[in-house]
């Protein structure tokens, strides 16, 4: 037990927790005014639901025991036996602290999905979907990548420092699949969807960046040199990705946009996530610079070409950005930085990690896509996934929650 490490993980847990409301503002600002509350609520309720599930069964299914490298078991039901002593994942902090830190990841991951389906999903259906998805997709993913004897990590040898596959690819791909199952918003393509509150996007983006330090540096599970390294690669990638998006905006439209700059920063954060504690700082620069154009292309060209309505770009940001990050981890990892990686990256002459990363990405895509389809199918048995046309027109704030976000701003109080 080390009080410095405990202090660090406790505060990092709080920081990661804070990211979910940050995401609510990031997404809420991007949505149209009539849907802002529903969009925010779609992240917020998960702070309740995913916490509750995690305490009851989630931690146990993710990190307790091991069934074929795919999922844990229920021996730690209700966090039974998870207490002040060290657990199997770290010797210097209580087992419960590890469970808590991991809980915050189990909250924000499903919240990311909701960006894809903003503006049209029935809130009750979303509630059930998220519960199912946590069980069917998230806990297995967490186990496979980070759990004892997990398939992707321990067996295959792929690495994921803070959740490139578990968090970003899984949620981004699930968002895409769910948005296709739901169909596009009414008038998608005809009507232009503008953001309704850019300062909220800035606020959300800033909270995300702030919290991401806890996310990535905290994933060292100790206040040590590795945490410092992850902190620095994180900030560096975000900074360069912001600049690189600004450059694209500038070259294409002559003006760097604010939404673009914030989006770029988030992309840099997404892409460095799997790599943060494995790569040198110069690699973080490369990862940051490259992720923006790739995702810009995905959001502006690919999305249009294929015509899916990934409303707030959960797939375009987290799906694509996460894949790029996971691949680059296979390119730039140095075992001398973190010996958790078995092999060096491609650029240092070893292809094994790179192949493991590719395999890991593919398996994650399949698990997320199939799992999402299954969850959607199950929910549909009981409740329609989508709101009615009229509810959609009126807006989801009023139709799903009976509320109006800022009644005073065109109303009279």
């Amino acid at each position: 037990m080390n009080s410095g490490d405990i202090a660090f993980i406790l505060i990092c847990s709080a920081l990661v927790f804070f990211m979910t409301p940050g995401l609510a503002f990031f997404y809420g600002g991007l949505e149209r005014r009539k849907n802002v509350l529903n969009t925010m609520m779609s992240s917020l309720f998960i702070m309740g639901l995913a916490s509750a599930l995690w305490v009851l069964i989630g931690y146990s299914l993710s990190f307790g025991g091991n069934i074929s490298g795919i999922i844990g078991n229920l021996k730690l039901f209700g966090l039974n036996g998870v207490g002040a002593e060290a657990g199997p994942y770290s010797e210097t902090i209580p087992h419960l602290a590890f469970a808590m830190f991991q809980m915050m990841f189990a909250i924000i991951t499903p919240a990311i999905i909701t960006g894809s389906v903003a503006g049209r999903m029935n809130f009750k259906a979303l509630f059930i979907f998220i519960a199912l998805w946590s069980i069917i997709v998230y806990y297995p993913m967490a186990h496979m990548v980070w759990g004892t004897d997990g398939l992707l990590g321990a067996v295959l040898g792929s690495v994921d420092f803070a959740g490139g596959t578990v968090v970003h690819i899984s949620s981004g791909v699930s968002g895409l699949v769910l948005s296709i199952i739901l169909g596009s918003r009414q008038g998608y393509k005809q009507v232009s969807y503008r953001t309704h509150n850019i300062p909220f996007i800035i606020l959300g983006g800033a909270i995300l960046w702030f919290g991401w330090f806890g996310f990535n540096a905290g994933s060292a599970l100790a206040a040590n040199g590795l945490a410092v390294q992850a902190f620095m690669t994180t900030n560096t990638s975000a900074a360069f990705a912001m600049l690189s998006w600004m450059a694209i905006d500038f070259m294409k439209e002559g003006k760097p946009t604010v939404v673009g700059a914030v989006t770029g920063a988030v992309l840099g954060l997404v892409a460095i996530t799997p790599a943060a504690g494995f790569v040198p700082i110069w690699a973080a620069i490369i990862i940051g610079i490259t992720v923006s154009p790739i995702c810009y292309f995905a959001m502006s060209v690919v999305k249009k070409r294929f015509g899916y309505d990934d409303a707030l770009d959960a797939f375009g940001c987290h799906g694509i950005g996460g894949m790029w990050g996971a691949l680059m981890t296979g390119v730039f990892t140095q075992t001398s930085i973190n010996s958790v990686a078995r092999w060096d990256g491609l650029i240092f002459g070893d292809y094994r990690l790179f192949l493991a990363q590719v395999a890991s990405i593919l398996i994650t895509v399949v698990v997320a896509a199939v799992g999402t389809a299954v969850c959607a199918f199950l929910v549909k048995l009981f409740i329609p996934l989508r709101v009615t046309t009229e509810e959609e027109k009126i807006g989801l704030d009023l139709s799903q929650h009976g509320e109006n976000a800022y009644p005073a701003f065109n109303g009279l109080d």
Binding site: G187, G402, N404, G411
Partner: protein
């Protein structure tokens, strides 16, 4: 010069705009208003306490047209686009104008609202 003023449901804003475009009415001024009438709002709930919302957001379109014929076309287009058949669909008010001036050119009367090419 006649002004057609229509108060419609908020969610019909885009439909009405499209309908006006379809009949080649391109000039209009739009604003957010609150209204009540036969339809008296709904009851919200804040922390378990009922709260009456009796002014509902509406959209006001103001369209100045040159003749009664245009008024009829415009009213018809708006009605079709804004209709749900339920209370609260709104009203259309028609006013006579004394004059109109286009600020850019100083043109008055019909010329002031006649539209050449639409410019982006």
């Amino acid at each position: 010069m006649i002004k057609v003023e229509a108060i419609v449901r908020e969610e019909k804003y885009e439909d009405v705009k499209a309908a006006l475009n379809d009949i080649d009415v391109h000039g209009m001024t739009v604003s957010q208003v609150m209204g009540c009438g036969v339809q008296k709002g709904y009851t919200g709930v804040v922390r378990g306490t009922k709260v009456d919302v009796n002014m509902l957001p509406k959209i006001k379109f103001e369209i100045v047209v040159p003749s009664q014929a245009w008024v009829d076309r415009t009213v018809k287009a708006i009605r079709q686009a804004a209709l749900t058949g339920k209370h609260g669909d709104g009203k259309i008010f028609v006013y006579d104008l004394m004059d109109t001036v286009r600020i850019r050119t100083g043109q008055a009367g019909e010329d002031a609202i006649y539209h050449e090419e639409t410019v982006y």
